[in-house]
Symmetry: C2
Subunit: 208 residues, 2 copies
C-alpha cells in the first residue's frame, strides 16, 4: 500500500523522466502543486497538452512553430539566400535572441552519432537536399550555407558530411559553405582553455 494516491504518484513519475530531475526533485515539484491553492497543476497541465497539440515543425525549416510555415521562413524581411544549419530548435532561439543573423535556418534534428546509434538516415538530410536544390533553382544570387552544428566530435562529423553532400554544388559555384568560427569564447581565461580550443584559436588566428 503506497502512502500517496495513484494520481500523485503518476505526476512524480512523469516529472522524474525530465533530464536532471531525480525522484527527490520530482517529489518536491509535485508537492509544490499539492500545496498550491490556485489549481497551478491544472494550469501547467493544460499548457503542456496544448503545446503538444499546437506545435509542429515548420515544413520548410523544421523549426518548432504553430503554423505551417514559421514566421522566420515566411518573413520577406529575411535574407532567403542564406541558410544556417543547426541541430535543434533551441539553437535557432540562441541565434534569434542574439539578433545577429538575418537569414533563414534549417533544423537537422540532431547530429550523426555512431555512439548513440544515430545515423544520417535519421536526420533531415533528404529534406535539406530538397530545400537546397529548390533555393538554387529559384535564386539567382546562389546560396550560402552556414554550418552551425555544435563544436563537438559529432557536430564536426556532421559538418563534414554536409560538406560531402553538397560538394558538387560548391564546385559548380552554386553554393558557398562556411562553418562557424572556433576559438576562445569572450571572457575566457587562456589559462583554463582546453587543448583543442587553444589549437583551433591558433589555427584560426587573424591578422590585426
Amino acid at each position: 500500500m503506497s502512502v500517496l494516491p495513484k494520481s500523485v504518484e503518476n505526476v512524480i513519475n512523469e516529472f522524474s523522466k525530465l533530464p536532471g530531475v531525480g525522484p527527490k526533485s520530482a517529489s518536491r515539484m509535485t508537492y509544490h502543486y499539492l500545496r498550491s491553492p490556485n489549481k497551478d497543476a491544472t494550469k501547467l497541465g493544460q499548457a503542456l497538452v496544448e503545446m503538444d497539440e499546437k506545435t509542429k515543425f515548420c515544413s520548410s525549416c523544421f523549426n518548432v512553430t504553430d503554423e505551417d510555415i514559421c514566421n522566420i521562413c515566411s518573413s520577406p524581411l529575411r535574407d532567403h539566400s542564406t541558410l544556417c544549419i543547426v541541430e535543434e530548435p533551441l539553437d535557432v532561439v540562441a541565434f534569434e535572441n542574439s539578433g545577429i543573423y538575418n537569414g533563414l535556418y534549417f533544423v537537422l534534428g540532431g547530429v550523426i552519432s555512431p555512439a548513440e546509434g544515430i545515423t544520417a538516415s535519421e536526420l533531415r538530410f533528404k529534406e535539406l537536399e530538397e530545400r537546397v536544390k529548390s533555393v538554387i533553382n529559384e535564386s539567382e544570387k546562389g546560396l550560402e550555407l552556414i554550418v552551425a552544428t555544435n563544436p563537438s566530435l559529432e557536430g564536426e562529423a556532421t559538418a563534414a558530411y554536409i560538406q560531402d553532400i553538397f560538394n558538387i554544388f560548391v564546385k559548380e559555384g552554386k553554393i558557398h559553405i562556411s562553418r562557424l568560427a572556433m576559438g576562445l569564447p569572450t571572457g575566457a581565461d587562456l589559462e583554463y582553455a582546453d587543448r583543442l580550443t587553444l589549437k583551433r584559436a591558433l589555427e584560426g588566428r587573424r591578422d590585426i
Copy 2:
C-alpha cells in the same frame, strides 16, 4: 515578435513558477518535451490535470488522498489512540516511508509564522480541537498527541500553541502530549553541529 510559439512560452512560464526553477531550467525542461517524440508533454499534462481533479484532503486528518477518508485513517490495523501532528502532507510520507509509526496523523497545513503573516486562524486548529474531542469521547484509553512540527522557530511556537490549547485536557488526564526529541542527527559531526542543536542534545541527554 517572439521566436517561440505562444503555446511553448506558456509552458516555460508555468515551469518557471516552480520553486528553484529559473527561466533557464524552465526552458530546458520545455525543450525536452519539444524534442520527445512520444507525446510525453501530454502524459505529464494529463497527469497534472488528473491530480488536481482527484486529490482532496482526508476529512479526518487532512492528508492528501483520493478518497473521503484516507487509507491511514480508515485502517483498523492502526492505533487510533495516537495522533501525530505534522505541518504538511509530505511529513506524513516521511513517517510512512520510515515504517516506524503506526498511529494516525493530523496535518495542520503549516505553522504559525508572524513573519509570513500566517496566524493560527489560517491553520486547522479548529479541526484539530474537534478531532481531539471526538477521540477523547470515543476512546477509553485516552489519547496521545505527538507534536511533530519542524524544529524551527515557527515549529516550536506552533508546538507551544498546541500545548496551550489542550492544556485543560492534559490536566484532566485525558490526553498526553509529547514532542519529537531534538538532538544530533545520525551521522552528524559534533564539530559542525550548530549551537542550538548542541544545546538541545545536551538538555535531552539520557542515561546509558
